[in-house]
Amino acid sequence: MKYLQDIGSYFLMLGTVFSHPTKGSVLRDLIYKEIDELVINSLGIVAFISFFVGGVVAIQTALNIDNPIIPDYLVGFATRQSIILEFAPTFISIIMAGKMGSFITSSIGSMRVTEQIDALEVMGINSLNYLVFPKIIALLFYPFVIAIAMFLGIVGGWVAGVYGGYSTSEAFIRGLQNDFITFHVIYAFIKTFVFAFILATVPSWQGFYMKGGALEVGKASTTAFVWTSVLIILTNFILTSLLLG
């Protein structure tokens, strides 16, 4: 019963987020701030993880190929497919559920605890629009983060493959170009947009409706991470079945 109430409350929240908009000039500044905090500030960790995971994917693929009939370009091919189809859109999003999600929940939760949300309401401001809408708009830029993750993951695979002596540059690049299906990239970005919406709204919901003090802010951040991850995994399954199945 509680889950049904929570689902209802989440969708009611979404309705309020898109009603009674905040003044345009204020909203514009909030969107810039959110782009900086959520998107730009995530680039460093995303670049680091993508580069090294790309390298690991290339090395593991190469080490598991010992059959001479398997073509030498498979390392590049497997790296590209793993990074574009799953690693960049899905696993980076789960990592972002921890980074961005806990940031969103704790910042909104702290505002709830310190009556800052009440202050907005008393002033006649739609606090959900003020707090959540700029995050949704800012995360429309999230696919750029994922594009960078795709690029750096493949670069990481190439560096590890070539300089580790597991593949030649020519074979790796041939693998990247072999059997390239444009729709796979489109599929990855469709997923990314959906994940971005989940990343912006689920942690916001957790933070906005939390009750209690500082301890509960921490608990809400953990719960937000769990639910955001679960929803990303479930949505990933559904979208993959629909788009590729």
């Binding site: 009674h20 003044k23 204020v26 310190t114 800052q116 009440d118 008393v122 002033m123 006649g124």
Partner: protein, 254 residues
């Protein structure tokens, strides 16, 4: 002026407000006092429309809150200023931006005009050279003053304060009380203060409502409070020996 008629508010089976009726006059500091759990905060939040009473009506001038549509309520809220117990300043904004916030939201003033007004109200609450500091960098008393500055920057008709001097040293608490009192007269606002600090009550209580168990147990002003024989309020006010002695002196002096 705010007129309250027979408001009731419950949470589940807990009947918190049990038919409160009163009038808060314009240009006066109206105080709601009472023990913890007496319903003061719930009453204040009903006045602020953060809680909706099940029964009763709250009139702002002659217009009932319950008859207003969402747009009217939003316009009414632009005429309200609120000083929260902890200040409720926005952590991500500096002091200047915090005070400027209502102006940015609700006026079409240019940046220079807004800045002039911000400096004017900050100076009115005796705060200077703090514009670029963040809330975490100033003291509790300064936060309360910034909160008052933010509440009055847009010339509100109604000022609400929730425990405005809690957590402050006695000297700063008196300064804050006097500041609110002076501003109330200066801006001719209807000010409602929720407090359990008897020093505040004696200092600036022009109208005092004593809440007990969700009902008004006594109503009067700071001079009448010493003379009343109402047991509920005498038990509350004279729980301190100091106030007992003051009362004895007042009664002897007639």
């Amino acid at each position: 002026m705010i007129r309250v008629e027979d408001i009731h508010k419950s949470f589940g089976k807990d009947h918190i407000l049990k038919g409160i009726s009163t009038v808060f006059d314009q240009g006066k500091t109206n105080m709601i006092i009472g023990e913890s759990g007496s319903g003061k905060t719930v009453f204040l939040k009903c006045l602020l429309d953060l809680f909706e009473p099940e029964e009763g009506r709250i009139y702002f001038q002659d217009r009932a809150l319950q008859d207003m549509d969402e747009d009217e309520k939003r316009n009414l809220r632009k005429d309200m200023g609120m000083v929260f117990q902890g200040g409720a300043l926005f952590d991500s904004l500096n002091i200047e931006e915090n005070v400027m916030f209502p102006l940015r939201m609700f006026t079409k003033k240019k940046k220079d005009e807004m800045l002039d007004r911000v400096n004017e109200v900050l100076s009115r609450v005796n705060l200077e050279n703090v514009n670029k500091k963040f809330p975490a960098e100033i003291s509790g008393g300064m936060k309360k003053r910034v909160s008052i500055a933010r509440a009055i920057v847009n010339n509100p008709k109604y000022l609400f304060c929730d425990e405005p001097n809690s957590g402050l040293d006695p000297r700063t608490a008196i300064l804050i009380d006097n500041l609110i009192h002076e501003i109330t007269i200066e801006y001719n606002m209807t000010t409602v203060i929720n407090s359990h600090d008897m020093n505040s009550v004696m200092e600036i209580g022009e109208k005092i409502i004593f809440l007990q168990d969700g009902e008004i147990a006594w109503e009067g002003d700071k001079t009448q409070i010493f003379k009343t024989d109402n047991k509920s309020i005498t038990d509350f006010v004279y729980s301190s020996d100091l106030f007992k002695k003051i009362r004895d002196i007042q009664l002897k002096e007639g």
